[in-house]
Amino acid sequence: MGAYIVRRLIAMVLMLVALSMIVFLIFNALPADPARLTCGKACTPQVIEANRTRLGLDKPIYEQYGTFVKGIFAGRTYGEGTSVSFECSVPCLGYSFRKGEEVSTLLWNRFPVTAQMALGAFVLWIVVGVSVGIIAALRRGRWQDRTIMGFALIGYSFPSFFIGLLLVFFIQIKWGLIGFEGYVPFYQDPAAWFSGFILPWTALALLYAAFYARLTRNQMLETMGEDYIRTARAKGLRERTVIGRHGLRAGLTPIVTAAGLDLAGLLGGAIVTEQIFALPGVGRLAIEAVVDADLPIITGTVLVAATFIIVANLVVDILYAVIDPRVRLA
């Protein structure tokens, strides 16, 4: 298992290298001119060109990539050897001239909001989705099953912005149950923190819970039809034990995979939900950067989000081997 993890870690690093190259290439192939981003509206072509040379943006792309990677591990100095040079500290993912801030600092400031949103929604959707999925499976074909699957279908088919807007419209605007304070840090005011997050949590969790209810139901139905479930019954085990010890253990294993990857995906930012509920998270940062064509931020957020997915993949694979003894990690 140790050797397997080492091999997977190496593969992961290679994947990240390839990924960073692609991201870097794509964003440099865009028509947006990175040098143009370095100064404001009243900017002369002379200044732009001077900045281009100063920042090394006139160098070949592979050299720029080299500088970028070096920046991540060793930091870099912008405008080296000129009067306006400044340091970008490790891990330097670039510098946003628009925001006048290092990309890593921007991400670091925004990430806690996204993480709280993602984790809260995750807990909610796993608890709700998995439990109603189990109920639906055990009451297959009866009214409980039909009701749950009916709601799941609705939740599943509504886009998240629609659910989000419904929540905003009814709960915040029409009934005024929750104000528009938005994000308040927990340590400042726990109650305000909670009311700021409850709607985005609900909006995200509804969508995912619907998906997980269906997934859990199907997994459980499949598992409860397995031969070893019949064996468990033939032993004379109580139905509770048959379901709890034999059914759930096998039926919920695939959920672990899906859950790990979905959580990682959300940690990279939920663009729509953060936008609707005005949460200053990574997704919001990304969409602002896209609107402003702020290339360093876009590159940084994409890289970080992709890293989450790649790491989650490894974690999920290792976890799977722990749960299922048939999976040999060699």
Partner: protein, 359 residues
């Protein structure tokens, strides 16, 4: 005879029916099956896939989902009726008084739990003992069914074992609480031939030691010949012939039984020898033919006058007190054809010399 001699039998199944309502109509998986088994005896239920033999065994064990199937009739286990009993009562008998081993031991053992855990669980459902005591029992039983170094095997997962070992584990699991009835549903089908023989020997030894009644479900007539005292031949959810093993093998009286016996490969004939399959398909259990269920595949139905096979279901008629058959052919006709078919099967010459005249 059918009722007079059955009283006091250890397992007594009477007019068992299992019907599954479906959108296309009612599936009569088992339709009026009656048989009985004494302690220490083995009854084989033979038939093709879909003949209802597995459903019969699961209905006895109470493993048929009563929400999706209608189960009627009577099953007496040591005098106690099970079909009308409370599910909780039947559950408490499962694994204790009656146990079951299944066809595919890999899929029938839980992949995520060790052998030890699964055996201990089986002990502790029915016996109020500590884990250590249960583990000791499990170890002893593994040893008893011929598993080498059982201590180590307890820590293995099912996928670590070979097919034969897994089936031994299944048998050990079934025998842990010394059941008086053991139902073996195709216990050797998934195993290779040498292992099959070992498992059959093991079952026979264990039966002698514990005096267990065995219901053996199989389509392998070789296994039947090795183990069974009595045979029930099922077709289309019904018993079409039943009797002591010698009657079934040497004096079969039902065209379907003849077909089954004729389709057994013979080792002495070369590999080019064509088997004699029974022509046609097993019947759909939804809309069974009006007359004899086997009529569409029966080569002899024209011998019965007045198209009786098309319109009238034959009853299970006793020929001798033990031997009964469901067929419209006259007894004399049946005997004659049976002798003809059995001698023909026995007299077939090895391939190459007889190949041509088949066509």
């Amino acid at each position: 005879m059918s009722t007079a001699g059955t009283r006091g039998r250890f397992l007594d199944v009477r007019d068992l029916k299992v019907h599954f309502p479906s959108e296309d109509g009612v599936v009569s998986a088992v339709d009026g099956v009656t048989f009985s088994v004494d302690k220490g005896k083995t009854l084989a239920i033979v038939g093709e896939s879909g003949s209802g033999k597995s459903v019969t065994s699961q209905a006895i064990m109470g493993l048929v989902n009563r929400k999706s199937a209608k189960v009627t009739g009577e099953v007496y286990l040591d005098g106690e009726e099970l079909i009308s009993a409370r599910p909780e009562q039947v559950r408490s008998l499962r694994g204790k008084q009656m146990a079951m081993i299944f066809q595919d031991p890999l899929s029938s053992l839980h992949p995520f739990y060790t052998i030890g855990k699964q055996l201990v669980e089986a002990v502790r459902v029915h016996q109020d003992v500590s884990k250590d005591v249960a583990l000791k029992q499990a170890k002893e039983m593994l040893d008893r069914v011929g598993i080498p170094s059982p201590e180590r095997r307890l820590k293995d997962y099912p996928h670590n074992l070979s097919g034969g070992m897994r089936q031994r584990v299944m048998i050990a699991m079934a025998l842990l609480n010394s059941p008086e009835l053991l139902i073996a549903d195709e216990p050797t089908t998934a195993l290779d031939v040498t292992v099959q023989a070992q498992i059959i020997d093991l079952l026979r030894d264990l039966q002698q030691e514990f005096g267990t009644a065995i219901v053996l479900i199989t389509h392998d007539l070789g296994v039947v010949a090795d183990l069974a005292d009595d045979v029930v031949v099922m077709y289309g959810g019904r018993v079409v012939e039943r009797g002591p093993i010698d009657d079934i093998f040497y004096r079969p009286e039902m065209p379907y039984t003849w077909g089954l016996l004729g389709s057994v490969p013979r080792m002495d004939l070369g590999r080019n020898e064509r088997l004699e399959p029974i022509p046609g398909q097993p019947p759909s259990l939804i809309r069974l033919p009006q007359g004899c269920v086997f009529r569409p595949r029966c080569p002899y139905h024209e011998l019965v006058p007045g198209k009786r096979c098309d319109v009238e279901r034959p009853e299970l008629d006793p020929i001798t007190p033990e031997h009964a058959v469901r067929c419209h052919l006259e007894p004399a006709q049946r005997k004659e054809i049976a002798i003809e078919r059995l001698t023909a099967h026995a007299a077939r010459k090895p391939a190459g010399t007889a190949g041509m005249e088949e066509k």
